[in-house]
């Protein structure tokens, strides 16, 4: 059990292994798209881990990257179409970043490092856990950026009007893209640093 919990903290894909950073930061200006993105990545990661693990004995090693890319892009297209149908506004906000799940290094990394050499059920759990570990970082970053940058959470105002009357101001810097990077840096700091280097 313990090895499956690793991605949530000790082996966190974003904070420790520096994987999947690309999309992790761009969608975190608000909480809602971040949660949707986290769920999409979890679904894609779990499903493609499961499928690749089922096929692991039949894929010729020389063409495995192409096979993996095809399986992943199949699930990403599914997720993309579902998002466009069900959550159109969020899908517009995420724009190209849903498509970029295909090249998310977490997914390729888990397929290479885990699914190719493990049975389907552990692969499925591993995929879910890594997706959640990634999602955790997204949600924490998005929480602070939306709270401090817009004074809202999930589009509901949480900073009371009386604060604004007393001179409190939203920190507009938080909404700008570079702040996501700085927040992740601070998260690594708070976590006690990256032990690998």
């Amino acid at each position: 059990m313990k090895k499956y919990l690793g991605p949530l903290s000790k082996d966190n894909p974003v904070l420790v292994q520096t994987l999947g950073v690309c999309s992790a930061l761009a969608v975190t200006a608000q909480l809602k798209p971040a949660v949707v993105m986290a769920l999409s990545v979890t679904v894609v990661c779990a499903c493609s881990n499961l499928i690749i693990s089922l096929m692991r004995n039949t894929i010729p090693p020389r063409v495995r990257i192409i096979v993996q890319l095809l399986v992943v892009s199949f699930f990403v297209i599914l997720v993309d179409q579902v998002l466009q149908a069900v959550l159109y506004d969020v899908s517009k906000m995420l724009s190209v970043f849903v498509g970029l799940i295909i090249t998310n290094c977490i997914i390729m990394g888990r397929l290479e490092a885990f699914a190719l050499s493990h049975k389907p059920l552990p692969s499925l759990i591993d995929g879910v856990m890594n997706g959640l570990g990634y999602g955790l970082v997204l949600v924490v970053v998005a929480f602070f950026r939306e709270l401090l940058g817009s004074g809202t959470l999930w589009n509901h105002p949480v900073v009371p009007q009386s604060w604004y009357a007393a001179g409190y101001m939203n920190n507009g810097l938080m909404i700008l893209p570079p702040m996501a990077l700085i927040l992740v840096g601070v998260m690594i700091w708070a976590k006690g640093g990256d032990k690998s280097s």
Partner: protein, 203 residues
């Protein structure tokens, strides 16, 4: 003509792939320990972007968009295959990278050696697929526009990774708080560089 140049400048400085969209961050953080290797990777990314984006532009325009297949005849004029764009783009990118590798090895061995291991790795770099997806989203009027966008984004990426690698080389000699060493400070520096690049917003 001037809008082509505008797209170029915009994609180098304002819509910089790393500082504004965080594309290709994984390799950006992993391969920026030395200026020389960073330059090699930056060159490879620009090169592949400059080839794949125009090709994907043509694919999008003549195969995927709503009504794009009308050149095949009346019956195909109403088809909209744009949901297939993800899978086609990634296939084109993987194919072209493979092809480029073979062509370069045969005809330009010097460049092939310079790009080295980075070329095959690029097929799964988010900056490349991201370039094609942004190209699709922005609806450029001609293939020249998409080419200038690709060159600009590639150069912007090169600029960012070389600047960052140069800072990182100096960083080895500085006294950073223990928990921030390694990736922690790398993120913060990228963030600060990004804030610096925002000064170009006024252009």
């Amino acid at each position: 003509m001037s809008d082509i140049f505008n797209i170029f400048v915009r994609s180098v400085f304002i819509d910089n792939m790393i500082f504004a969209y965080f594309l290709g961050m994984c390799s950006y953080l992993a391969v920026s320990k030395e200026v020389k290797t960073a330059f090699g990777l930056g060159l490879a990314v620009s090169f592949v972007l400059a080839v794949t984006v125009p090709v994907n532009y043509l694919m999008d325009k003549y195969l995927l968009q709503a009504g794009a297949l009308s050149w095949l005849g009346e019956r195909f004029a109403t088809l909209d295959l744009s949901f297939l764009s993800l899978i086609l783009f990634i296939a084109v990118i993987a194919g072209i990278v493979q092809l480029l590798e073979m062509v370069l090895e045969r005809y330009l061995p010097a460049l092939y050696m310079a790009l080295g291991i980075f070329l095959p790795l690029i097929a799964v770099n988010c900056a490349i697929l991201g370039g094609s997806l942004f190209m699709q989203e922005r609806n450029f009027p001609t293939v020249i526009h998409s080419f200038s966008y690709a060159i600009g984004s590639g150069l912007g990426w090169l600029l960012a990774i070389v600047a960052f690698a140069a800072i990182r080389e100096r960083l080895k000699y500085s006294n950073i708080p223990e928990p921030l060493r390694g990736n922690g400070i790398a993120y913060i520096i990228t963030g600060l560089l990004g804030i610096g690049f925002m000064a170009f917003l006024g252009i």
